[in-house]
C-alpha cells in the first residue's frame, strides 16, 4: 500500500485529503502514478492532467516524474506553494 495525500486546491477539487492505495501493476514512478490516477476520469483527469501545475513529494521530499514509488511510500500531490 502507498499513502496518498492531496493538499489545498487539489484536495478540494478531488474532494479527497488522503487515501491508501495498492500500487497498481506496472506503476513504479511518480509519473506513472499520476497518469494512473488521472485515468480515474472526471475531476481526477482534469486536475492531474500533464498541463496542470501539480507538484509531487515522495516521503516528504520534492519529486519529479522519474522519482521511484514503492510500497509503503507516502506520496503527496499539491499546487505550487504560496506560503511566507
Amino acid at each position: 500500500m502507498v499513502k496518498l495525500l492531496y493538499f489545498a486546491r487539489l484536495r478540494e477539487r478531488l474532494d479527497c485529503a488522503t487515501e491508501s492505495l495498492e500500487l497498481p501493476a506496472g506503476v513504479s514512478t511518480v509519473g506513472a502514478l499520476r497518469l494512473w490516477l488521472a485515468g480515474r476520469g472526471g475531476e481526477w483527469q482534469a486536475a492531474l492532467a500533464q498541463d496542470q501545475s501539480v507538484r509531487v513529494a515522495v516521503n516528504q521530499d520534492m519529486a519529479s516524474d522519474a522519482t521511484p514509488v514503492q510500497d509503503h511510500d507516502e506520496v503527496a500531490f499539491f499546487p505550487p506553494v504560496t506560503g511566507g
Binding site: A8, A57, Q60, A76, V81
Partner: protein, 158 residues
C-alpha cells in the same frame, strides 16, 4: 540545549522574544537580520477579509530545516529560526518570521533573504483568501520563482 529552528503554529509570535532566545548568551553574535511577513488587506487588486493557511505537517518542517542547512553551509551564520503561522489570519496579522545571527551583517542579511526566498517556493504552505467574491486559492507568483532562482545553480537537493 538546542531549541527548535523551525516552528509551525497557529499562535502569534513576538520578534524581540524570538531574537533574544536565538542569540541568548552568545557574545559572538554581532548581527541579527530578521524578516516578518505580514497579511495585507489587498492582493492582486482585491480586498482580502481573512486568509487561511494550510500546510503539509512533517514535510513543512523538514523542507525548512533543509533550507536553513543550505543557508548555514553558504554563509557564516551561527543560528537561524523560522516561525510560520497556519490557520486563519487577518490583515495586519504576522504570518512568518525569519531571523539569522552572525558575526557580521553581510552574512546575516544574505542568509535571511535566502531562507525567505526558498521558503516561498519550497515549503508546502498554501494560502486561501476570503474576498468579496468568495474564497480563492492564492496563485503562485513567477516573481517568487525568480527570487529563488537568483541564488543560483546549486539547488537544494531532495
Amino acid at each position: 540545549m538546542v531549541a527548535a529552528r523551525v516552528r509551525v503554529q497557529e499562535a502569534d509570535f513576538d520578534a524581540s522574544h524570538e531574537i533574544a532566545r536565538l542569540r541568548a548568551g552568545d557574545p559572538r553574535v554581532g548581527a541579527v537580520a530578521s524578516f516578518i511577513g505580514v497579511c495585507r488587506d489587498l492582493n492582486e487588486g482585491d480586498a482580502v477579509a481573512t486568509m487561511t493557511l494550510e500546510h503539509y505537517p512533517g514535510m513543512t518542517e523538514r523542507s525548512i530545516e533543509r533550507i536553513i542547512d543550505e543557508a548555514m553551509g553558504r554563509w557564516q551564520v551561527f543560528d537561524a529560526l523560522v516561525v510560520h503561522r497556519v490557520g486563519q489570519l487577518e490583515p495586519l496579522d504576522q504570518i512568518v518570521f525569519v531571523a539569522v545571527t552572525s558575526a557580521h551583517r553581510g552574512d546575516a542579511f544574505a542568509a535571511c533573504e535566502f531562507i525567505m526566498d526558498y521558503l516561498k517556493t519550497q515549503a508546502p504552505f498554501w494560502k486561501r483568501e476570503q474576498t468579496a467574491t468568495g474564497p480563492r486559492w492564492v496563485a503562485a507568483r513567477s516573481s517568487d520563482d525568480a527570487a529563488a532562482a537568483r541564488w543560483a545553480e546549486a539547488a537544494i537537493k531532495g
